[in-house]
């Protein structure tokens, strides 16, 4: 890894090095003095801001957001959010999060790490045993090269301190706190997340991910990510990782804001595999300007309830938006996932492809919106959502909303719901595949069109995850 920009610097190589190097390299913080208490009020929000040493504008933004949060009703759509907002720690200093030991991590999670072959160092990070992930050694050269090109890549807390101009221009502008109750909550108590700025014309050839940041804070409950892709620039960001994310806190509510300026390209890939107790309520939105391209690739597994509808607002002619979404709902899980496309200018085009799988009583819903603003002539959108239901106890729903305020447009919508066919199973079994193998293969085939869009390593992990999810599902 001399420059980190050549073809050979695949993520897989990086991962394996990470495993080696980080054995020795965890940073040990001295324990923090601050002890947060449960609950949410103005004094806690101020305290969070103060602890982070934030400027007044951010503190005021947080306090304002808290008021909005308190005034907003719970969303009436999606799933039931059974959360007592006063019974949650809204901010834990890294040192406190680190209090947990490896022994406390549930066996099921450890087993899954084994099956996925996640390196030791990452396991501890992912399960919250280690809060900080010293990546300087591994990614030093990448960081250097990015810096040379003028790319900014830090955690968002650092960005507030070091890049106030950019932050004040964009932070909370794409998704204002007034957008929805959970966006307001995140705006009040956010911590961590990534900040990326890609300057004009700079194309980053390999996928960026949080690991590359120096001193990344642990995947927080209320992450806040902001990505600015300047004119003609290009970036692919990969969020999180496919390992099961285990956390003792049950509410996770992230906000991701993206701006793609004229001629820019941004692809944002997420595969999340939450533990079964998690409420994962995420707001993701991108503003795409002239002739730019924004793609969301969003995979959701696990969690108790996920509500997530990545959006692309196409603001100027020639903007394109594409959202590929995969949801897998198993026992006790409700995936309310989907997408939003807003055509706010003429000659914009969008595409939504959603695939959901439900089994063992799980529930997968597609909830999507295509909106064409008045004057957005010659806009094109297509929506395809396919659901696969593995047994009679499981459920799939489709809630497609279409709002068209312009005549001269072309909008297509196709939806299908299917069960694993007895005939297909029989065909595969007649060739020696067990029923479980055959079902897994059919499910794998069902999501194949989306999985092949993933970077290689993630595609492999995604398939392994599906295999894990399918285990013991039949028989």
């Amino acid at each position: 890894m001399s420059t980190g920009f050549d073809e050979s610097s695949t993520l897989a190589a990086v991962h394996s090095q990470l495993g080696e190097i980080n054995k020795y390299d965890f940073r040990t913080d001295s324990p923090a003095v601050f002890k947060a208490r449960r609950g949410l009020d103005a004094s806690i929000v101020s305290q969070i801001s103060e602890m982070k040493g934030e400027p007044a504008w951010m503190r005021d933004f947080r306090l304002k957001s808290l008021e909005i949060f308190e005034s907003k009703p719970m969303p009436h759509w999606g799933g039931h959010v059974g959360i007592d907002f006063q019974d949650i720690f809204y901010y834990l200093k890294p040192a406190e999060q680190q209090g947990k030991t490896w022994e406390e991590v549930p066996d099921a999670i450890k087993k899954t790490f084994d099956r996925l072959g996640i390196p030791e160092a990452e396991r501890k990070f992912l399960s919250g045993v280690k809060a900080q992930f010293e990546s300087e050694v591994v990614y030093g050269s990448l960081q250097e090269d990015l810096a040379k090109k003028g790319v900014l890549f830090t955690d968002t807390d650092t960005a507030v301190r070091e890049h106030p101009d950019l932050l004040r221009e964009y932070f909370g502008k794409i998704i204002p706190p007034t957008d929805n109750k959970f966006a307001a909550l995140n705006s009040a108590v956010w911590s961590g997340g990534s900040f990326i700025y890609v300057p004009k014309g700079v194309k980053i050839e390999f996928p960026l991910q949080a690991y590359f940041r120096i001193n990344a804070e642990s995947m927080g409950q209320f992450e806040r990510t902001l990505i600015i892709v300047d004119e003609g620039a290009q970036v692919h960001y990969v969020e999180g990782c496919t390992a099961p994310m285990y956390s003792t806190e049950s509410l996770h509510s992230a906000v991701v804001e993206i701006v793609v300026k004229r001629g820019g390209r941004c692809r944002y890939t997420t595969i999340q595999n939450w533990a079964n107790n998690i409420y994962n309520l995420v707001t993701k939105r991108a503003m795409a300007y002239g002739d730019s391209m924004m793609e969301w690739i969003d995979g959701n597994l696990g969690s108790h309830l996920t509500m997530k509808y990545p959006a692309v607002y196409m603001m100027e002619p020639g903007a394109r938006g594409e959202i590929l979404s995969i949801a897998f709902a198993s026992a006790g899980q409700h995936q309310d996932a989907g997408a939003k496309l807003v055509h706010a200018a003429p000659h914009t085009s969008g595409r939504i492809v959603s695939k959901s799988i439900s089994k063992n009583g799980g529930r997968a819903s597609y909830r999507g919106l295509v909106r064409v603003e008045p004057g957005a002539k010659k806009s094109k959108s297509s929506v395809v959502c396919d659901a696969l239901i593995l047994d009679d106890r499981s459920r799939s729903d489709t809630y497609p909303y279409i709002e068209i305020e312009e005549q001269d447009v072309s909008i297509g919508h196709e939806a299908s719901v299917s069960k694993i066919g007895e005939e297909q199973l029989f065909y595969l079994m007649s060739r020696g595949l067990s029923e479980a193998e055959a079902s897994t293969m059919i499910v794998g085939g069902f999501i194949e069109p989306l999985v092949k869009e993933l970077p290689m390593e993630y595609a492999v992990e995604m398939n392994r995850l599906i295999e894990l999810q399918m285990e013991g599902s039949v028989g």
Partner: protein, 282 residues
Amino acid sequence: MTHAAKETLVVSNLHVSVDGQEILKGVNLEIGRGEIHALMGPNGSGKSTLGYAIMGHPSYEVTSGTIELVDADGTRHDILAMEPDQRARAGVFLAFQRPMSIPGVRLADFLRHAVTNVRNPDRKEGHELMPMRDFRTELKSKMGELSMDTEFARRYVNDGFSGGEMKRAEILQLAMLRPKFAVLDETDSGLDADAVRLASESIARIGGAEMGILIITHHEQLLEHNIPLKTHVMLGGKIVESGGPELAQELHKRGYERIRAAYPEAAAAEKAMEESARAVSV
């Protein structure tokens, strides 16, 4: 009962129903390894049903009778107690009249699983697959013998295949899995003249002296290189007559009138089946 000196697939007095409707009404058949049998009969007489019952399709309920694999030493294995995948691992194969498409699953991936399981009958899920390199080499050579482009293995199983491509893919699976007993259900339909000849030669080569094959067909060409030891005629859910290769030729030339006249009971059953099928579709 014969005491075969070679492994045999034995179907005795088999009755099969679909949705409570009896289709097979007492079928008897014995095929030894290395033997080729032809099964003919008018449309709807129950030929495919026999194939499905042998392979274990869940919609085809065996109400009485047996299907067994009998080893050379006389040991009997009850096929009916096995799931379809266990039957495959025991050496039974069905080339489908209408193969299912499995979108998103590449033919090569599917075949690698199939071959691994069939060759290691005790393999558990998640255990290692046949080494990629060995598999590829073998697949490539088999595809070559069938004049198939290796790129074809990257396509999704039967998804958008032409009729001929589907049948060729079934023969490829036969070649890779090398079962002890194979039912080929109209593997010649949908093939052009050259392809039928190629299929006929390939099946003869793949089958060799090791495989017992039941060829279900409405044509003669497949039997050119696969001269049947016996030809069976099914009518109204029963095998009513068996003979040599000349019987196949006769049926092909003259149709089933003589048969219907000779076996009025089966002909009546055929009529009844047709009527009930019509009743269902109305």
